[in-house]
Symmetry: C2
Subunit: 193 residues, 2 copies
């Protein structure tokens, strides 16, 4: 009882978008982030590539949605690049604290880190996403060496780990302003010194 609407496209199901994301998860896991393509994801989802583009602007954004990450490069990268250069450290720490404030938002980030720590294939995928979709874009946009952006990343990911995974006190209960005062100058220094 299905009706073919357009050639080369599956009949639009109630959750075509969800099916594309499921296909994306499979393709990202198999191919990694770099080698996955919109075309390959469309093929896996049995839809036209144009339909994938209709739902998702970029592969970066699709990855973030497929993994339910609160950190979408299409939004995060411009937010970091815009605004005064001398406040980039503070901007980045505030952004990270805001995006990971809710436990529901954090869990997919922690799940992705966990799978990178236990599975070689997931590791390659996560590494490619972190560097090519996030860090190098911010670094190149600001003219900061890749080593320095990765030093900043190491501080941010360590903060997430110490605060939300290991839940060290008093760090876990510290308020945002205290953390911004403590951590933002570190990030600022990596970006400018």
């Amino acid at each position: 009882m299905t009706v073919k609407r357009r050639p080369g496209r599956r009949p639009g199901s109630a959750d075509t978008r969800g099916e594309i994301l499921a296909a994306a998860r499979t393709v990202f896991a198999e191919k990694g982030f770099d080698k996955a393509t919109v075309r390959g994801i469309a093929r896996r989802a049995q839809v036209d590539p144009a339909l994938v583009h209709h739902y998702f602007d970029t592969k970066e954004g699709m990855f973030a949605e497929a993994m339910q990450l609160p950190i979408n490069p299409d939004e995060v990268v411009p937010a970091i690049l815009e605004g005064p250069r001398e406040e980039v450290g503070e901007r980045l720490v505030r952004l990270l604290l805001r995006l990971t404030a809710e436990n529901e938002a954090r869990q997919p980030v922690i799940a992705l880190l966990r799978s990178a720590m236990t599975n070689e294939q997931a590791l390659a995928m996560v590494r490619e996403f972190i560097t090519n979709a996030l860090l190098y874009r911010v670094a190149d946009g600001l003219g900061v060496p890749h080593l320095r952006i990765e030093a900043a990343f190491s501080q941010m990911v360590g903060l997430i780990l110490a605060r939300y995974v290991l839940q060290l006190e008093p760090l876990a209960s510290a308020d945002d302003e205290e953390l911004v005062a403590l951590i933002a100058p570190t990030i600022q220094r990596y970006f400018t010194a």
Copy 2:
């Protein structure tokens, strides 16, 4: 054909020390780091507590050995506290890079982090060890607030994660001197600012 040597003590096996460490692993996993006692570990290993003390000076050291950690608080804490205060950041970064230089030394650290990320009981144990055996002792020895030592820890653990687990390039291949120049001022600032 075993001969009882002393009352209250099991016949000395070829690897009494190894048996004590195996008992320690079980007791630490069950009780956590704080509540585990030398007496409880001795009971589990069916040896006299004095024999445990003969092999291991402290519970902290026993934990490090039981988990095969390259970071033994009995050695690391004094090494950080001794020496010029204005070089503590550099001393700490150099120490960490040295202790985790070999893959064999690193793996137990990463395994412990991984189990803390996947198992609530392991998490409590790891958290207690990190704070009570390491961080608070360094902080109290230097008169640094616990929040600041945990900020420093977050940078160090993030460095391990980014460099050795995620293996981000160019960070993973950066030489020690480059990393010391980049990271040591961060640690120094947390300890003094």
